[in-house]
Amino acid sequence: MQEVEKIVNGKDLFKRPEYAEVLANKKQFESSMLAINPAKVDEIAEWTKSWDYREKNLAREAVTVNPAKACQPLGAVMVALGFEGTMPYVHGSHGCVAYFRSYFTKHFKEPTPCVSDSMTEDAAVFGGLVNMKEGLKNCAAVYKPKMIAVSTTCMAEVIGDDLQAFIIAAKEEDKGEFLPEEYPIPYAHTPSFVGSHITGYDNMMHGIMSQLTEGQKGETKQRINIIPGFETYIGSLRSIKSIVEAFGTDYIMLGDHSDQWDMPAGNYEMFSGGTKLDDAKDCINSSATISLQKYSTTKTMKMVEKRWKHAGGHSNPIGLKGTDEFVMKLAELTGTEVPQKLKIERGRLVDAMQDSYPYMHGKKFAIWGDPDFLLGLVSFLLEMGAEPTHVLCHNAPNGWEAEMRALLDTSPAKDSLNVWAGKDLWHMRSLLFTEPVDFMIGNSYGKELMRDTGTPLIYIGFPIFDRHHLHRYSISGYDGALNLLTWITNKVLDQLDEDTKQIATTDYFFDLVR
């Protein structure tokens, strides 16, 4: 029974003897093996750590277990929320939207506006045109967004709804009451059974950029477009802007959700910040476009490079080298010297790397996440002399595996470094048993791996549900690399203390100074 002066919640309540008795007593009714034969559980648990299990696990062809990817519309919702006053609108059933909203909200600890047009069985039979007509009208009337960005769930894709025709029909029927002819409603088909959330990002970004710029082509302006990609670090968006601003050049960040998912307390507005729609319409007239995530913007960049003939290309400003390349690209595009401010920032980062290198050098890491994130992080690990033993990308697009392999091959330890394209986190579990590492870098899904394998987890990635505020920091630019260095080095040091804190046995190495 609770003691009123020391009320405990579930963390400690069930440790009390009366609950231990309840739980022990419950076992007689249970069919899980722990209740029937704990030795059998131990045996199978041991077997899951074996090479035999690893081989069987890696041979899986059909079932995915503990994935490290999500589906297209999630990325489309992120794109929409990076534009001024824009409501993400998902054509399909509303359960999906409840999921996107809660998923982002659990990560950012911020509201995530998004509507759906709540398609049900009748829409599955007759198509979702009626839902679209009503949904766009209601959304415009109630939330008064400046733009509505429409994507799709797999239901709408399977039945083959035609977004373009539906949007035109909705405007026609509305007769300008809520949806005037010029009201921007860009769209993208985002089938969940193709690619992953980064594909949806690409499709929606392509949709917005191509549709808003229709008929806007004019004289080219000395200006750089920056497309951040599926970027979940709010601080990274700010770091990037600060680097570009240091060059004094005009720029447009296309899809800037840094204010939307980082609203100050005191007042709630549904929309905050984002790329100005006028800028988005004019982005076709910029002289260059740089994508910061190659694999999240394949289709978009194809349009920008082939049709718009923009200079720029892609850059991955994570880590020292990646940031250097980005900075040099900006210097080249603007025809200016690297600003003093950035030279100092770089110097400070390198200074910090040289202070801390002994703790990361030679340490083995397992890491998973999105393709571009991994290229940046792995590059940084290599810059520090660390060994990325397992690099796993569940949503690896074509070409990524070879690119990652080439990067790993620059390491002296290359023969022990592995790329795992298209594998999931249950595969990773096997690998951590058979070819263990010192640390893992990844999202909250690594938590169970940490519990099962004892490998310490450094929380860098998306989604992060169970650690607070990390997303507010930057992992891009020189300042972002300094954050990476700080987080990783200090986790190594925490672990060193953990490993040496036994009194009178190992604590001679429990040094005050490291």
Binding site: Q2, V4, N9, G10, L13, Y19, V22, F29, E30, S31, S32, L34, A35, N57, R60, A62, V63, P67, C71, P73, L74, Y89, G92, H94, G95, C96, A98, Y99, F100, S102, T105, K106, K109, T112, P113, C114, V115, M119, T120, E121, K137, N138, V142, Y143, T153, C154, M155, V158, F178, S192, F193, A265, G266, N267, Y268, W426, R429, Y445, E448, D452
Partner: protein, 489 residues
């Protein structure tokens, strides 16, 4: 303020809110908003609101889907089974381990609740069908997770649209591997909310557990007794079922099964032999309770373990079904916990007395937690359900104490507007709305996940509930929103 003026104010708020909609949407939403009056006998449902109807498109409903109701609510917490999210990758990923269905087991070895199994549909599965892949998924699961006691197939939207026959795959594979395999046709587009998913999932329990071949589950060690009960519709969020179970056992009953928090297949298979089914979440599991009543003659009663007043009422109601020995022990249990509860109320009521709350939750909580707040001197001034039916709103009428705003399937716009107009001291709802209200400087508690605290059921749970509500309402952080240089007003 007298009840009349309160009611007038509430009605005015509704009228005002409806003005933002286009005509058709306003007409629809008008039927879902009302002012509930406990004494108005003309009200068929609380506030005469309509429910369980299609959501108005484009308005940011908080509702989920049938898949969420089946996989996320009913089947997902059964710990010794593996639940395949059948279709594209998203649904299982977004819903993974978010609901806090606590369980004891070695995850990945003999229990699997927090994991995510998915058939990860690609375009070719949509075009050529996914039955073959499903069969292969089951084979691979059998190799890698041999201690699973069964598999469920939780259909995502495409399955029902592309004409796959998961029932046939399940039948063939069940025969092959000799375990329970349950196909659930809970595609997200079915019905208007997660509610139909509960119903579909209940029907699948009936067809595949009660009427299925359970010979692979050994139940011989359990001999039925006169005091056997099952807890139905408690998903052990944060350990709620455990803090309920302890009370039932203390009063001499034997809890044979938990549906489905920390549940195993065996417990569910044992349930048809219990003497009484205790139904907590009526909405999600009344179907199977009614079925057991009809088929096996097991009576069921609803109970409410939120807050001491309701807990005591419920304990006595349960005891009344049994003999005097149980009734006597029930009184002992009530007497045993009373001093603790008195102390909790003495400690927290002065800090919470007179504070007002607005709720918007799913299942049973929009009515069941009202009493718990009242035990602390707080008043619920607005409440509503994501996916309730008429019978829920009828039951709600009995729980409110005076004129209360009732909103069915409330959307982001309406809830925000209601809160601004009615100015509660606390909002209690889900994760999607949480930060909207916190930005406004309003104390907030998640009433789906207990904000990662709990349990809230039972006596021990009430102490935590009281502590958490005090933590939220009386935290110093809310006072920081206004900067010292900002003028008053």
């Amino acid at each position: 303020m007298g009840p009349e003026t309160l009611e007038a104010k509430q009605k005015a708020a509704i009228e005002e809110i409806l003005k933002a909609y286009p005509e058709k949407a306003a007409k629809n939403r008008e039927k879902h908003l009302g002012v509930g009056s406990p004494n108005d006998e003309n009200q068929k449902t609380c506030g005469d609101v309509r429910s369980n109807k299609k959501t108005v498109p484009g308005v940011m409903s908080q509702r989920g889907c049938a898949y969420a109701g089946s996989k996320g609510v009913v089947w997902g917490p059964i710990k010794d089974m593996i639940h395949i999210s059948h279709g594209p990758i998203g649904c299982g990923q977004y819903s993974r381990a978010g609901r806090r269905n606590y369980y004891i087991g070695v995850t990945g070895v003999d229990t699997f609740v927090t994991m995510n199994f998915c058939s990860d549909f690609q375009e070719n599965n949509i075009v050529f069908g996914g039955d073959k892949k499903l069969g292969k998924c089951i084979d691979e699961i059998e190799v890698l997770f041999p201690l699973n006691n069964g598999i469920t197939v939780q259909s995502e939207c495409p399955i029902g649209l592309i004409g796959d026959d998961i029932n046939a795959v399940a039948k063939t594979k069940a025969k092959e591997i000799g375990k329970t395999i349950v196909p659930v046709n809970c595609e997200g587009f079915r019905g208007v909310s997660q509610s139909l998913g509960h119903h579909i999932a209940n029907d699948a329990v009936r067809d595949y557990i009660f009427d299925g071949d359970m010979s692979h589950i050994d139940t011989t060690n359990v001999t039925p007794t006169e005091y056997d009960v099952a807890i139905i519709g408690d998903y052990n969020i944060g350990g709620d079922t455990w803090s309920s179970r302890i009370l039932l056992e203390e009063m001499g009953l034997r809890v044979v099964a938990q549906w489905s928090g920390d549940a195993t297949l065996k417990e569910m298979a044992l349930t048809p032999k219990v003497k009484l089914n205790l139904l907590h979440c009526y909405r999600s599991m009344n179907y199977i309770s009614r079925h057991m009543e009809k088929e096996f003659g097991i009576p069921w009663i609803e109970y409410n373990f939120f807050g001491p007043s309701q807990t005591i009422k419920s304990l006595r109601k349960i005891a009344a079904f049994f003999d005097e020995s149980i009734q006597a022990k029930c009184e002992e249990v009530i007497a045993k916990y009373q001093p603790m509860i008195d102390a909790v109320i003495a400690k927290y009521k002065p800090r919470l007395d007179g504070k007002t709350v607005m709720l918007f939750v799913g299942g049973l909580r929009p009515r069941h937690v009202i009493g718990a707040y009242e035990d602390l001197g707080m008043e619920v001034i607005g409440t509503g359900y994501e996916f309730a039916h008429d019978d829920d709103y009828k039951r709600t009428k009995e729980e409110i104490y005076r004129s209360t705003v009732i909103y069915d399937d409330v959307n982001e716009y309406e809830l925000e507007a209601f809160v601004k107009k009615l100015q509660p001291d606390l909002v209690a709802s889900g994760i999607k709305e949480k930060y909207v209200f916190q930005k406004m400087g309003l104390p907030y508690r998640q009433m789906h996940s207990w904000d990662y605290s709990g349990p809230y059921h039972g006596y021990d749970g009430f102490a935590i509930f009281a502590q958490d509500m005090d933590l939220a309402i009386n935290s110093p952080v809310w006072a920081h929103s206004k900067a010292p240089w900002e003028k008053e007003g």
